[in-house]
């Protein structure tokens, strides 16, 4: 199978946050949320030539207990319901496969990327009343995620930053947090600064103790995308990233 994806280069900047000015480096950013097409390669070892072999001893998710896509749709839809650990694991796996340093964005980076470098909480001059142009939220989502990239991209060329799925970011909070709101959140809660902290109800229906480290049984609205710092990046490795994915069949 060939899973195409695109990275966009977002310029460096210094942005104002609650805790002061933060430098954001130039970043290559996945233009959409990670889709099942990409995530399944990691979960089902589609990059390994033989079933069962895992030469790099990469840590991979267990098979999900619950229907991971909730019946919303699979191909082209954002991967959802993975734990923060699993999202980070995906980045670590792809780093090993590609030789690049692939990671989740920080909180400040994520907000900067979401707003496309513009002032305000929403991109493209939208607000909570005109968010339909760029984001799936509770008033237009019909209670479901949607295939990535259907609505307009922001100034950086990034799709679905507002709504569709909230996205895991790296942070030093006690519980993992996800930014930007999801399909079930109000437009107001899909702002670039909107975030939600994981709570126990997100994994209430996992009947096993210990609960899965990899899947959140009751969380159908959190996904992620990854970033790569552009400064000093090895262009050959970057070009090779597409091949890493494409060779996984």
């Amino acid at each position: 199978m060939t899973e195409s994806f695109s990275l966009v280069l977002c310029p460096e900047s210094t942005i104002e946050t609650e805790s002061g000015l933060v430098d954001v480096p130039a970043l290559y950013v996945l233009s959409t949320e990670v889709t099942w097409d990409l995530y399944d390669i990691y979960v089902y070892k589609l990059d390994e030539p033989e079933a069962g072999s895992d030469a790099d001893a990469i840590s991979r998710p267990s098979k999900p207990y619950v229907p991971p896509d909730r019946g919303f749709g699979h191909e082209g839809y954002p991967a959802i319901g993975m734990t923060f650990l699993a999202a980070k694991g995906f980045c670590d796996w792809l780093s090993i496969k590609s030789g690049l340093e692939i990671r989740l964005p920080s909180r400040a980076e994520w907000t900067y990327l979401a707003t496309g470098g513009e002032d305000g909480d929403f991109c493209c001059g939208t607000n909570e009343d005109s968010l339909d142009l760029v984001g799936w939220h509770s008033d237009n989502s019909e209670h479901s995620t949607h295939p990535v990239g259907l609505l307009a991209a922001n100034n950086f060329g990034l799709f679905d930053m507002h709504g569709n799925t909230a996205e895991w970011v790296s942070s030093d909070t006690r519980k993992p947090i996800a930014f930007g709101g999801g399909y079930r959140d109000s437009a107001n809660d899909c702002a670039g600064t909107s975030f939600q902290k994981q709570v126990s109800s997100w994994n209430q229906s996992d009947p096993q103790i210990p609960k899965s480290q990899w899947w959140l049984a009751d969380c159908s609205w959190v996904g992620f995308r990854f970033v790569i710092e552009a400064d000093g990046i090895d262009q050959q490795l970057l070009e090779g990233l597409q091949n890493v994915i494409n060779e996984s069949d």
Binding site: K63, P64, H74, P207
Partner: protein
């Protein structure tokens, strides 16, 4: 991570010392008032002693739920086939209780662990747990052992939490029906693991169907399409045949009943519930094993089934389940009636009816696993026994009947299924040599 991170070695050590000393005090107090032979299980100090047989992930979850369900419930005895399963179960339970104490600023939750040295392993652990003075027993071993464990539990006058499915074959189902009948005569509570029956949103949807929300129900579609089970374990040199199969119990149908009856039975239970537990006339279906790798540890279970059930009043119910990695998943139900169609997708909270009387569910999601234990313990306290025996047996047989039909390629009637003498475990379970069951092939396997 939580500030009460249970993996913090310093915390863990101090907690262990603390728990050990309080448990000893609790145990001494309880021993002063022996109460063997009771039926109702309420003793003067108001405790309900809980035992568990089957200390895996589900057993551990159920133990914690039992301790949370009732202020007087205490964990009293533990059993598992394998000795090394017991300490992790105890550890997770202890952590859960300590977390509750931390959250609530109490010291009472952790005192609920009063196991002492009542930890038993081996095939006869059930008997030791039952004889240890428990009032309530949690049966969470692989399903093959459930009928026998339930029989002994009811004989010993215990209230029971009985995980699904309740059996792997028809003789097992009949045994469970008899145990359930005896439990009723003894006023013992018997709670099944068919947890959706205790989920408020699904309950509300079933009520809408039962009260005419879609008119006359005529067609049911249920799915349980997932990507598989836990990874199978490669054989270790020191394992006997039997141990190898037991450690990969999901993958051997004599132990698990196959995935249609072990897992997809939850969706088949929606069908049974929508039909108000009316039993079908007959069933036929197909299935097979397309994506499971051919390894010793992946046993003999299939990886997909597609079944059609016919009911006396003309209702047809279609069920599909599969374990196919890297494919879309679906665990939902659709109910079609003379006046409307109901869509039920519990994993994303969709509960709607379109038709003459459009409807949208507005019940709030609840922790169905916890609710089951809340109901069980409340029924014991109120001396108003709950008894899920009939429906849990019938739903289990409904799935087993579908498996029989698909394995054999034949049309199977409810009576044939219920009266079948085919036992999947004719050889008693013990460690040692044991032939691996073969993958069923329609037309050549005796399954009914």
């Amino acid at each position: 991570m939580s500030s009460t991170n249970p993996t913090d070695p310093n915390l863990l050590m101090s907690r262990r010392v603390f728990t050990a000393s309080t448990a000893a005090i609790g145990a001494a107090a309880v021993f002063a008032q022996p109460s063997f032979g009771r039926i109702k299980g309420l003793r003067e100090e108001n405790t309900l002693r809980v035992g568990v047989v089957g200390c895996g992930g589900r057993g551990t979850g159920a133990v914690i739920q039992a301790l949370k369900a009732d202020t007087g419930s205490v964990l009293w005895a533990m059993g598992d086939l394998f000795e090394e399963k017991i300490e992790p179960c105890l550890g997770y339970t202890r952590d859960a209780m300590l977390d509750l104490d931390d959250e609530q600023g109490t010291a009472t939750w952790s005192k609920k662990i009063q196991v002492g040295d009542r930890k038993f392993h081996g095939f006869n652990a059930i008997h030791k747990v039952l004889a240890s003075g428990v009032d309530v027993i949690i049966l969470t071993t692989p399903p093959a052992f459930r009928p026998e464990h339930l029989k002994h539990s009811v004989e010993a006058n215990k209230h029971v939490f009985c995980e699904k499915p309740v059996a792997v074959d028809a003789p097992g189902v009949r045994s469970v029906l008899e145990s359930a009948r005896i439990a009723k005569t003894k006023s013992l509570s018997l709670m099944s693991g068919f947890c959706w029956r205790y989920q408020d949103q699904v309950k509300e949807t079933m009520n809408a169907i039962h009260t005419g929300g879609i008119g006359k129900l005529h067609t049911i579609q249920t799915t349980y399409n997932t990507t598989g089970w836990v990874e199978p374990k490669q054989r270790k040199a020191e394992w006997s045949d039997a141990e190898f199969q037991l450690r990969n119990w999901q993958y051997f149908n004599p132990l698990s009943a196959d995935h249609v009856a072990e897992q997809a039975v939850h969706a088949i239970d929606w069908q049974a519930w929508a039909m108000q537990d009316q039993t079908p006339v007959r069933c036929f279906g197909v299935g097979g094993r397309q994506t499971r790798p051919s390894l010793d540890e992946t046993g003999n279970v299939w990886d997909h089934f597609s079944l059609i059930y016919e009911y006396a009043d003309g209702v047809r119910a279609y069920h599909m389940c599969r374990h196919w990695p890297n494919t879309p998943s679906d665990n939902s139900a659709y109910f079609q009636g003379s006046e409307g169609n109901c869509t039920m997708q519990p994993w994303n909270g969709t509960h709607t009816i379109e038709g003459v009387n459009p409807w949208k569910g507005n019940a709030v999601s609840n922790d169905m696993y916890q609710r089951e234990h809340d109901v069980l313990f409340n029924s014991i306290r109120k001396n108003a026994p709950v008894n899920d025996g009939t429906f849990m047996s019938h739903t289990s047989l409904l799935a087993i009947m579908g498996r029989m039909a698909a394995y054999s390629g034949k049309v199977v009637t409810w009576e044939q299924a219920m009266n079948s003498d085919v036992s999947l475990n004719t050889q008693p379970w013990e460690f040692g040599n044991r032939e691996a069951p073969t993958i069923p092939v329609p037309g050549s396997t005796k399954e009914i």
